[in-house]
């Protein structure tokens, strides 16, 4: 193996971060379920990027359940083009009065090409317009770092911008038994080479364990392609404060042709975790 002599040269960078405040770039959402204005993360991407990690940082000021969809865009101010659409990001649900100040972070890997010099920005929408501080930054890796398959186009399936949510999958009334399939999309519009399933709570105060299967094929003929993704929602003993099943899972390489139907099903342990919102990012 040949390793570079200068390990730090043009290697990896975090952009959009303020070291003096320990905060990433602030951005705002629009009115309920409406995308806000673009906020610049960097005016110029420092090198040809092959892999990014999205840092999401939120400070929640009120007790509200929040579904959020984020876009990452490239292009000059006023001419932004969506590069990653509708990243699902759900904040914790609070039913108790204490600990209203809340920090929430996410770290999401996406192998995506971004050319050097590109301006990168972010915008978002949420189902509530509340006093939540939202911040985002990017961790950039150079194109040549690993022979990672890197993608240039991402399409979202199952997201509903009128609610800022995914498709709600009912994992069934009978505990520990796989549910019926719920369609995420009737027909993929582009070839998918890898997918990232995204999850959020489909109900208030979830508590318990569930599995989610991702399948492809016609109604009644679905074939499981990703089995038993484990999701856990939990809360402290004796409290109604809970965590929601949240965010993206890992990336799953999978070659799926245009026109494929994608569905999801699940099972639960009989606790309060019956409904899970599911959406999918398809990479090509």
């Amino acid at each position: 193996m040949i390793l570079p002599s200068n390990l730090t040269a043009n290697y990896s960078q975090v952009i959009g971060w303020n070291s003096g405040t320990s905060l990433f770039t602030s951005f705002t959402c629009g009115a309920n379920n409406t995308k806000g204005s673009w906020a610049e993360i960097t005016s110029s991407c420092p090198f040809d990027v092959g892999l990014i990690a999205i840092y999401l940082q939120a400070v929640l000021g009120v007790s509200q359940e929040k579904y959020t969809l984020l876009d990452i865009g490239i292009g000059s101010s006023g001419n932004e083009v969506v590069l990653i659409p509708n990243i699902s990001y759900m904040h914790m649900t609070y039913n108790s009065a204490n600990n209203n100040t809340h920090e929430d972070v996410r770290y999401i890997h996406i192998p995506l090409n971004i050319a050097a010099g590109q301006r990168i920005s972010i915008r978002g929408q949420t189902n509530h317009t509340a006093t939540m501080g939202k911040y985002a930054g990017l961790f950039l890796y150079p194109l040549s770092h690993l022979t990672t398959p890197s993608f240039s186009k991402i399409t979202d399936y199952g997201t509903n911008t009128s609610t800022s949510r995914g498709v709600t999958v009912d994992t069934g009334a009978t505990a520990n038994t796989k549910s019926s399939w719920t369609q995420i999309t009737a027909s993929t519009t582009r070839r998918i080479k890898s997918m990232i399933p995204q999850f959020a709570s489909g109900q208030n105060a979830p508590f318990g364990r569930s599995y989610i299967d991702i399948g492809i094929g016609g109604a009644g003929s679905e074939v499981v392609v990703i089995p038993d993704i484990y999701i856990r929602a939990t809360g402290p003993n004796g409290s109604t404060r809970v965590l929601a099943p949240n965010g993206m899972t890992n990336l799953y390489p999978f070659d799926i042709p245009t026109g494929t139907r994608i569905a999801a099903r699940g099972q639960n342990d009989g606790n309060i975790i019956r409904y899970i919102d599911v959406s999918i990012l398809g990479l090509e």
């Binding site: 960078q13 920090e103 929430d104 770290y107 990672t148 038993d228 003993n237």
Partner: protein, 270 residues
């Protein structure tokens, strides 16, 4: 008949250690003595295909304790540690769950098992994995090493962050054993309250001459008394030659609570 352009069923994903009857994962129990590994528990008797990696599903069901767990390979009574001392922790009775992609070669037909220790003794955690036939990365890694784990406390190496500026460097290892191409940054937690956003630098080089290799790995823990890290395992592609010293330093954001220390474990793959 139209030519079907892609073999859509080529990638394989197979979950092991799932307990479908209760929608749970396999229970692993520590030795009753604190900081002592318990017995091996089988996760899969024979892997179904050559795996280029796995998603590790980790859940801690006994709170207020820190765990270190091993993943082993081999027949019952002849297990060999394949991945040592990965951390997991929970606080205040909450089950804390994470899923981490681990890009390590696993042969077909092998038995995999797991065992754990915890800071109190007798604790339970849940574990399962999803084997993958297709990797996100190439080349496929076949070596793994863990640095910074302290088996006498079931914690990692303590790194103390400073408020909105980086703290002092803390050595995680004086020398890595092989060329590293991928690193898992693992965060454990002790019994102190730790919440707020933290930013960890990973540096290489001799003492007092450290150079930042990976800047500002971001993490945080929940506010109030929910003190556990959001993402206990963060995977990062890196390139670090054999023999390199690795150290860490950190800072935290000050208006969201306190962060008195971090417990860091680094896992290298190559």
């Amino acid at each position: 008949m139209p030519l079907f352009p892609y073999n859509i069923f080529t990638p394989r994903y197979k979950s092991e250690g799932m307990v479908s009857a209760s929608t749970s994962l396999t229970t692993i129990t520590s030795n009753v003595s604190a900081n002592t590994k318990g017995s091996w528990v089988e996760i899969v008797s024979s892997t179904a295909f050559v795996a280029t990696g796995a998603d590790l599903m980790i859940s801690v069901i006994d709170g207020d304790r820190s765990f270190l767990f091993d993943i082993g390979i081999g027949g019952s009574g002849s297990e060999t540690v394949m991945i040592p001392n990965l951390p997991a922790c929970s606080r205040n009775g909450r089950e804390v769950t994470s899923s981490v992609y681990y890009p390590l070669f696993i042969p077909a037909g092998v038995r995999l098992s797991a065992r754990c220790q915890d800071s109190t003794g007798g604790g339970n955690m849940l574990f399962g994995l999803c084997l993958r036939s297709t990797s996100m990365y190439s080349p496929i890694f076949d070596k793994s090493a863990t640095y910074g784990a302290i088996t006498s406390t079931s914690l990692g190496t303590t790194v103390i962050p400073a408020l909105n500026s980086k703290g002092s460097w803390v050595e995680i290892t004086s020398s890595i054993d092989f060329d590293c191409r991928y690193m898992l940054v693992c965060w454990s937690a002790d019994s102190n309250t730790e919440h707020g956003d933290v930013f960890l630098d990973i540096g290489v080089g001799a003492t007092s001459s450290e150079v930042v290799l990976v800047p500002n790995v971001f993490n945080g823990s929940m506010g109030g008394t929910l003190d556990r890290m959001y993402q206990p395992h963060v995977g990062i592609p890196v390139t670090i030659p054999q023999g390199t010293r690795i150290a860490c330093r950190a800072q935290y954001k000050g208006n969201s609570g306190i962060t008195d220390d971090l417990e860091i474990i680094l896992v290298t793959l190559g």
